[in-house]
Structures are given as structure tokens and as C-alpha cells.
């Protein structure tokens, strides 16, 4: 089933997703174009005092949500494109994929390559790849060395969710004001600040 939403509150989306994930046996593709107000979303293990500039968050009245999946912390808003895939083990068996994180991400990388790969009208030869191409790099979706999508997963015995927040656009001030630089970061980040590490999907 495909569910297309626009401006659905991310908190409500996560509640609905978890209900569909744990309470149904159906496969889902959920797309939501933006959430109504800037919101911080942390993963299962997120600790606000480690990850956030709490004073700024409180001062500006920013909502902070802890989601049911793993992964890092993001600031999302009306320019974020949310895409969630909810599936079952039987679906993955057809691809020979076991329900473990890296294997699921290997499958989602191939799925998104069909979405973000260079168009057929590009002068580049189909077999060549540029350093700016889409890839899954240390668990992030990137164009080249810049991240444009953060993803997270939740896995049970026979169900899985892979959800992504794509930065169609973003407000660098929100990142700067609310998010600390993470202590655990992928090696390709090279200690770059948010503005040098991220890119916008709308610029592609």
C-alpha cells in the first residue's frame, strides 16, 4: 500500500507508522511532504543533553520527539521529505535479504539508486559514475561526500521499517541553533560543520 501525505505532523506520522509496523502484516510505502513546524527527532538511544542545545530548544519552544527506531538526531520542518518503507520478512526473502540492518540497507540502497541515479539523458556514459553520484555511505544517503538523507530502522522477528528524512531544503540556522555536533559521526564527515556536510535535494 502507498500512502501519500502532505504537511502531516511528524509525531502523528511516527505513531501511525509504528501502529502499521507492529499491528499489521501489510507492506507500506509512506511519503509525507513536510511537517508543519520545526521539530527535533531523536533515535531510540537519544539523550537530549548530549545531542541538543537544550536552552535554545526550550527558548524557541521546539518540540523534541524520540522515535521508536535507531539512528541519529535531525531537525525537520516543512521542507523535509519523509519516506518510510514498512515490510515483512517474506518480502525480503524474495531478494535473499535477512532482517539485519546492513542487509536491509543494502536493499534500500539499490531501491533508491533507481530514484536518484543520473537520468538517461545525461551526457555521461551509463556505465561511468561520478564522485557526485548517489550512494549509501557509512549508513547515510549521500551525493558524493555530502549527506542529503538520514535514515533509521526498526526490526522485529518478521517485520522491518526503514524510514528516511530527505532534506529537500533545510534551514541551517535550525541545525546550528538546536543540534550539537554529534560525538559519534561517520568517518567521511571529517568534523565538518552541518553546512559543509549536508546538501539539499532541491539543488540536484
Amino acid at each position: 500500500h502507498v500512502l501519500r501525505l502532505k504537511g502531516y505532523q511528524i509525531y502523528d506520522q511516527l505513531i501511525m507508522e509504528e501502529a502499521l509496523f507492529r499491528g499489521t502484516k501489510t507492506n507500506w510505502l509512506i511519503m509525507n511532504e513536510g511537517t508543519t513546524e520545526p521539530t527535533v527527532v531523536m533515535g531510540l538511544s537519544g539523550k537530549p543533553d548530549h545531542l541538543l542545545h537544550c536552552d535554545s530548544v526550550r527558548h524557541d519552544g521546539i518540540k523534541v520527539i524520540k522515535r521508536y527506531s535507531g539512528g541519529g538526531t535531525v531537525v525537520v520542518d516543512h521542507d523535509t521529505l519523509f519516506v518510510s518503507i514498512i515490510g515483512d520478512g517474506e518480502f525480503m526473502k524474495e531478494y535473499g535479504v535477512r532482517l539485519y540492518p546492513r542487509e536491509i540497507m543494502g536493499w534500500t540502497e539499490s531501491f533508491y539508486k533507481k530514484v536518484f541515479s543520473p537520468s538517461s539523458s545525461s551526457p555521461s556514459s551509463p556505465s561511468s559514475s561520478t564522485s557526485d553520484d548517489f550512494a549509501l555511505r557509512e549508513n547515510d544517503y549521500v551525493f558524493g561526500a555530502k549527506k542529503f538523507g538520514g535514515n533509521a530502522q526498526c526490526i522485529t522477528r518478521d517485520r522491518w521499517v526503514h524510514h528516511t528524512s530527505f532534506l529537500f531544503d533545510y534551514n541551517p540556522e535550525n541545525m546550528h541553533n538546536y543540534l550539537k555536533l554529534p560525538t559519534q559521526a561517520p568517518s567521511y564527515r571529517l568534523s565538518r560543520p552541518h553546512i559543509d556536510f549536508l546538501c539539499r535535494l532541491k539543488d540536484r
Partner: protein, 159 residues
């Protein structure tokens, strides 16, 4: 009245004896032995109907580096195959299931500060919780695998 009292006491003693007897009698349940689930949890049976639970080396290797463990609370009642805990690795939260029915009596607090113990020593220092095995739990062992059966299960899973 005397007869009914004696009957109740005898039944009570027999029930306890049956519990112990089943736990130690069955060819597949031996105190000190370790049993496995098809979902790659292990349980090591100890004295006083206590089982120590964790995930296997196969599971920790498949999950990747564990960065967080969501431990259960003491007193938490579980049924076989219900969710006991969760681990986070490679941006994924993965459920860990109870191998048998029982009640959580102790959790491995070391995992709070050193979750990577699960990767380093999944079947020893990386234990997750201890369960007081219930009466149903003793029957649940019928659904578990011994080492040889588990090794075969892992081998078959890779193909």
C-alpha cells in the same frame, strides 16, 4: 478435613518436585547447559530455576556494533517469544525475544555504559537479563535447540 489437608500438601510438594524433575529430567534440559532459539537468543540454565539470557555470536555479528541496549525492568513478566529487550546497531533498533516464559530478576547494568560488551562477549559478559523460569517456562524448553541443532540452524540460514 485431615485427608484434604494432606492431599493439598502432597499436591503442593509434588508440584514443586515435578517442576524440578522436569527441569532436570528432560534430555534437552540440563542445569548448566545452554539452549538456543531460532531467533538467535541463548539461555543458560542455572540453579533455582534461573536462566541467564543473551544473544548469540551469530546475532551480534549480523547486527553490527551495538551502541545501545534497552534493558527490561526487574519484575517484567515475559512469555516465550515476547519482546524482552532491544538493541541499537547501525541505526537500527532490533527486538530481542524471551527464550522461555518467566520474570526478569536481574539485568546486566554494565550494558548501560558498555553496550559493546554484546559484541565482545555475547555469550558471557554481554548477557542481557536473568529470568526466573516459570512453570510454563519449563515446558517452553521443548521449543529450544541444543548446541548441535543451533549450529545446524545457523549453517542453514546462511544458504
Amino acid at each position: 478435613e485431615m485427608l484434604s489437608t494432606i492431599t493439598r500438601r502432597a499436591t503442593s510438594v509434588c508440584s514443586r518436585a515435578t517442576l524440578t524433575f522436569n527441569l532436570s529430567r528432560s534430555y534437552s534440559v540440563k542445569s548448566g547447559a545452554t539452549y538456543f532459539t531460532k531467533d538467535h537468543e541463548w539461555i543458560k540454565v542455572e540453579a533455582n530455576n534461573i536462566g541467564t539470557v543473551g544473544i548469540t555470536d551469530y546475532a551480534q555479528n549480523s547486527l553490527g556494533d551495538v551502541v545501545y541496549v534497552d534493558l527490561p525492568k526487574k519484575g517484567f513478566q515475559v512469555k516465550q517469544k515476547s519482546t524482552l529487550a532491544a538493541v541499537e546497531s547501525v541505526k537500527a533498533a532490533s527486538d530481542i525475544y524471551a527464550p522461555v516464559s518467566g520474570e526478569v530478576t536481574e539485568v546486566n547494568e554494565a550494558l548501560t555504559t558498555e553496550p559493546a560488551l554484546i559484541n565482545k562477549s555475547s555469550q558471557k559478559d554481554g548477557w542481557i537479563a536473568k529470568l526466573k523460569i516459570s512453570e510454563q517456562g519449563t515446558k517452553d524448553f521443548d521449543n529450544l535447540l541444543d548446541q548441535a541443532a543451533y549450529d545446524k540452524h545457523c549453517k542453514d540460514s546462511k544458504h
